[in-house]
Amino acid sequence: MGMSNGLKNGYSPEYMGMKTDKNHNWKELHNYEESRAHVSIVTVFLTYLSYIILCLLGYASEWLAKFGLLRNGLNVDPRFGENYVPLYFNNWESIFARHIYRRGREYCSRPICSVPGAMCTLKDRYTPDNGWNFQFTGTQTKCVNFGSYNYLGFAENRGPCCDSAKGAIRKEGLTLGSATRELGSGRAVEELESLVAEYLGLEDAIVFGMGFATNSLNLPALVGKGSLIISDQWNHSSLILGARLSGAAIHVFQHNNMASLEKVIRDAIVQGQPRTKRPWKKILIVVEGIYSMEGTIVNLPSIIRLKNKYKAYLYLDEAHSIGAIGPRGRGITDYFGIDPREVDIMMGTFTKSFGSAGGYIAGKRSIIDHLRVRSHASTYACSMSPPVAQQVIAAMSIIMGKDGTHEGIKRIRALAENSRYLRRNLMRMGFIIFGHDDSPIIPLLLFQPAKIPWFARCMTEYNVAVVAVGFPATPVVESRARFCVSAGHTKEMLDQVLSAIAEVGDRLLIKYAKNQVRSKLDCDPDYDCE
């Protein structure tokens, strides 16, 4: 159907009060809840059984190897026999890594030898000994790329962005070789910071060379001992690391569940700090815009309502949502039609939608000034590389339309259309898909651990590159394949994927929701997709 502008995406100001009926997207949220509930108990049982069998095989294999009856490709401690305490013990984690993860390792960390765009070229490799070691076959496979984060298709090796990045290398070199607070403030970084602030509609912004470090090194600068961080259950590990390093207490609420969040906040304020019972210095709610494994969009209007009611602060990590969502590509606040100044701290990365690297934090000038002075990254780490910053400047200018073309809006609309098309069709085929309709991340549930590498292998036969993940990135039972849609994907590529998945789905028996779809089609003839 194509893109909607501003309010037509379903969210109206009434949504802030959470009226349920006429809202198209609110129904979507219910749909997401429902698809979780309709998994048959047989599937869950078989999944647990698979893991138990794999564990037992793992333990048996370790036991046999101890007596020399089985050879495995384990690395030997060079200090073996010198009375050192072993570096890793035979606990569950290492058994898991060595015997469960290792079996499917072939489809993880797959090397590519091309630009990670809408199409990519995989460097084929095989394992002569069941996943312990790999060798290259010498051949390459060109695939449609649904694994890389390339939402707006800026992962290109020619075009205006590349040319400006090349110019930055020639004029400013690869690095400034100095921390930002010392002699590391270059022209490219200054320009990028003001452009990011303009893009988001905020007062000021600060950029860093690594997205992971942006979270882990700046949360400690914002909160400390005596403060409370309330974080979503499925937050990214950089947020968790930053929260732990800060020394603040951490409470967790159920994923995207506003009732759980409200209860946690109320209990926290009423109880105060543990043991001393003193009131908390401040409360910081940390959430993400789009969750990368769930494909869900955060319920921002309700969170803002709650934060205003209880005087908490909000830290929004837009790693996957900046550029990828919203009618103008400005992220979650754009999508819901909320003023970005309602969010205290907006963080994001340049890796996903801008084809570059690094992260930013934007907000009020007082907050950014504080980070300039107190951030660990601006004091100790080298500043961002000029070509990397220049790529973001070029990509952002295109999205904002500053280059005089409509390329930016075209890409945003293409991404929205592609995501909706792929998601609707996959759901129609009977797969269990998590997440909300408008999110460009589409997780498809596989459940059994053996289906993870199997699915990846089958899709590679059809020349489609996907990401298949299991425990511990996802809960034990809910292994999934994840599709990251890009604006660079054409309708032919999407159709190629859909036909491949239809066949693979039948072969692997992963169309768990087929019966529910049939019943939906029977009672609601309008349940159809474009």
């Binding site: 570096l87 990045a165 004029k171 002699l183 270059g186 690391l241 304020i269 990397v388």
Partner: protein, 484 residues
């Protein structure tokens, strides 16, 4: 069934009575209301609302001094080579970390541009999800071969390298012996590991041996809760029993060339101690790879020792090799673990391929004749500068322990009330004479043992003796002008 009832009849009375009491007690436990510590005080909703309304949080950030130097940075335009344009003025550059002069090297830049034309800028994913390109794999192989180790792991940010490597191996309950002067990234790694950290005085091998000896004695003692006189360098949970000691890993973490003081660690003594007390030895060689050693292979080559004495070596591509990122090298047994447990490796996007290609060109340079010449130049200028600073500087001084081979020179103010202010003014005055230097910046409140304020000079292979003499004369002018 029948034999059971018979047995019941034949059992003695006390037996039956005891069994009956047991059954009654179990039933009582089952149906008793459980004691929950949260049930102590139950507030009414009205009281809760009152508490919530009363609560007043602090502002999110404290006010910042508007004149803080971080808010008025000096803007660099163009490349940061021997001459750098700072705030529009061309200055002789003594502040950029560029020890082999690789920033602006044409081969490095051409390699990066060629890579950009094939791979674009970003890698668009973490290493596990199609973010691994053959450039990354080639660079890892190159680093491993260069350092004569089995395997290398590449990170996209030098700070994250050691800060992710330490918590991947050291967990709660392990013991880490670390030098007091370690840099901030290592301190963050130590915090993230949740282990017991025991700091020893900087480069003081006697103190380290003392601490190791007392820990070894404690390990042999049976039972815990032994109290003894603890000084600020010891941790209360040092004392444990032998069973626990058999599963407690012990680590020794040092830097090869210390960023905070410009001196080199006493490697032979450290290796002896780690062999004697069975410590896993991690060396942070961020500043020493490409600097120390006849072919730039780092501190182990400098001391003529085998690199296998270290369990893990962390290096950086940012200080010497004109690129960005970091790496860890060592045996496969140790390094491979990080591919699943190094947070900065698994959960972060991989290094942009163009920076990896630039780093590969830098390593090729290092192995070429031009590279060996640059290493010699660097060594000479470092030694020359060391002696010239000692001879000719008036109001500034180097530390007694700083190494002549170090390209990082810290200059401290002699006997000053407010050394920080004094040094900032010196830097400003020197900049007006077209030389760019910096004071070493620290976050005083966050550092565990904050170093004294100093001016940090970064030498490079393209500096010559005249440059250093010029710097010294300008510094002397500035300090004497400020002292009057």
């Amino acid at each position: 069934m029948l034999p059971m009832i018979e047995a019941l009849y034949n059992a003695p009375v006390y037996h039956l009575v005891l069994e009956a009491l047991l059954v009654i007690w179990v039933l009582r436990l089952l149906f008793r209301k459980s004691h929950s510590p949260k049930d102590r005080v139950i507030l009414t909703e009205a009281e809760k609302d009152e508490l919530i309304a009363e609560w007043k949080p602090e502002p999110l950030v404290p006010p910042v001094d508007p004149m803080h130097p971080a808010l008025h940075p000096r803007i660099v335009t163009g490349k940061a080579m021997k001459t750098v344009t700072v705030d529009g003025r061309d200055c002789l550059n003594f502040s950029t970390h560029n020890y082999l002069g690789l920033i602006g090297n044409t081969d490095v830049e051409l390699a990066a541009i060629k890579c950009l034309e094939k791979y674009g800028v970003g890698s668009c994913g973490p290493r596990g999800f199609y973010g691994t390109t053959d450039v990354h794999l080639d660079l890892e192989d190159m680093i491993a071969k260069f350092m004569h180790c089995e395997e290398a792991v590449l990170y996209s940010y030098s700070f994250a390298t050691i800060a992710s490597a330490i918590p991947a191996y050291a967990k709660r309950g392990d013991i880490i012996f670390a030098d007091m002067n370690v840099n901030f990234a290592i301190q963050k790694g130590l915090d993230a590991s949740r282990s017991n950290i025991i700091f020893f005085r900087h480069n003081d091998m006697n103190h380290l041996e003392e601490l190791l000896e007392s820990q070894a004695k404690a390990d042999l003692r049976v039972g815990s809760c032994q109290t003894a006189k603890l000084n600020c360098f010891q941790h209360a949970s040092l004392f444990q029993d032998p069973k626990k000691a058999a599963v407690t890993r012990k680590f020794l973490i040092v830097e090869a060339l210390y960023m905070n003081s410009g001196d080199i660690c006493p490697l032979p003594e450290l290796v002896e101690l780690k062999r004697k007390y069975k410590l896993r030895f991690f060396v942070d060689e961020c500043l020493s790879i490409g600097v120390l050693g006849a072919s730039g292979r780092g501190v182990f080559e400098f001391f003529n020792m085998s690199v296998n004495e270290a369990d893990l070596i962390c290096g950086s591509l940012e200080y010497c090799l004109g690129s960005l990122g970091g790496f860890c090298v060592g045996s496969s047994y140790v390094v491979d673990h990080q591919r699943l447990s190094g947070l900065g490796y698994c959960f972060s996007a991989s290094l942009p391929p163009l920076l990896a290609a630039g780093a590969m060109a830098s390593f090729s340079f290092l192995e070429s004749n031009a590279g060996k010449e640059a290493l010699l130049h660097l060594e000479n200028i470092c030694k020359t500068a060391h002696s010239l600073f000692n001879e000719l500087l008036l109001d500034l001084e180097q530390s007694k322990h700083s190494s002549p081979n170090s390209p990082i020179k810290h200059l401290y103010a002699k006997d000053h009330d407010d050394p920080e202010d004094f040094l900032q003014s010196v830097v400003k005055m020197v900049e007006e004479k077209a030389i760019a230097i910096v004071t070493a910046t620290y976050l005083e409140k966050e550092e565990k043992f904050c170093p004294a304020p100093s001016i940090r000079i970064a030498l490079a292979s393209h500096h010559v003796e005249e440059d250093v003499r010029h710097l010294i004369s300008v510094l002397n002018e500035a300090t004497s002008a400020l002292s009057c």
